[in-house]
Amino acid sequence: MSFDLAFAASTIPTILSVVGTTIGVALLSCAGASILGFSLEMARRAGSIAGYAMRFAIDFIRSTPALAWLYFLYFVLPHWNVTLPALVVGILGLSIYFSGYLAEVFKAGIDAIPKGQAEAAKALGLHRSDVVFFILAPQMLRNVAAPVGNHFVSILKATPYLAVIAVPEMLGRAFDIASDTYRYAEPLTVVGIVFLLLALAIAHVVKVLERKFLGPTGR
């Protein structure tokens, strides 16, 4: 058996038909991971006991592979009578896994804001909520934009994991084709190239957005 280019080309439309699922999963997981990660970091800052517990939770998540989380949720949730579509389970799993990383990103983003910013805002008599909303939050968002963008690319590259829990995304499609035709090499190569191009393209977009977004403040 040798590599059949024509066949490879013929698999492209089928595989690309679910590229939307891939990107959608990545975006939703990124959002989920951001929200969860931010909450973890806020909880960690809240108090000493909660702080240690959250620190431990973050460490625990970061010490375990994404695949294990996907398996855990996929098999345990139904056992607890929680029936969710595989897609949702997948997004949940990736959100949990990447929240560990994003919690660190938010921590660094907040710590990077000079202490004097809050002091100057308070010295002007601003209410605590105004200090957070007008002064701290915008600066935190600027600080985390680039790292979150980079993690988004990582999340995108993790979406194929969802194939192991039967989610209709690109890797899954490739295996569908393979199991029908007994030809594995071609569809898998196509998926590989698509992902490589996608990752490079999005990484580039992130860099461009970074420059545009952070540029005009003169920093």
């Binding site: 000079p114 004097g116 910013q117 002091e119 100057a120 805002a121 308070k122 010295a123 002007l124 008599g125 601003l126 209410h127 605590r128 105004d130 007008f134 002064i135 915008p138 600066q139 600027r142 005009p216 403040t217 003169g218 920093r219």
Partner: protein
Amino acid sequence: MNDSGHSMRRQAQGPATQIGQGQSASRHDDPAVDATALNKWFGGFHALKDIDLAVAQGSRIVICGPSGSGKSTLIRCVNGLETFQSGAIRIGGVGLTRDQKQLRKIRREVGMVFQQFNLFPHLTVMSNCTLALRRVLGKSKAEAAGIALHYLERVRIPEQAHKYPGQLSGGQQQRVAIARALCMNPKIMLFDEPTSSLDPEMVKEVLDVMIDLAEGGMTMLCVTHEMGFARQAADQMVFMDQGRIVETAPPDSFFAAPSQERTRLFLDKMLH
């Protein structure tokens, strides 16, 4: 210069007689800032030791001293950025507490200029100045812009209003910081080493603004190493060392003939 009719030490009457009915009324002869028996610890470190300081309205006090003497800590206590464990501070007769609402009220009356400028980098110069006007004083966008422009003109950089802090020089940024504080129309201005982070050629432009402010009658409490400025603008010099006020005197006698040995040593180092 001003006469020393306003005494520097706490008067025998004590603050109780100055208040009269309740804490809310501040009378025009109350000291702008009155610290009594102020003590502050950072953990085990005793940073401020039995500080007594009364700053009369309209006077200009310069606090100097070696690093670690507590000068910054002292003025940061005045607007509640630092808390203190014992003693009292009264701003215009009203005692400082830890109540956030009361602190915010007091902070409207007390402006502060920081060594690191602390301008908000993501906001334009104009927005830096108008934010508190709109959010704290409830002014309309147009009204706030008018006030901001007025003070930006006062510090001589109205044309920079739409730039971002990162596009300005250090001296310009500090002047914006002064304008930002002035926009709130404070009764007292605190300066925490305002020129220490500036390149030498930009120090003058900031000091000129501060002298201008002094001549306009603003009550000022400055921590600074700029002795030339102190000689020109201050009513009283306060020398602090290791958390205590060692000596206070009008600039003439302070520089010519300091009464304390430590003051003498410090001035020798500073002026040579």
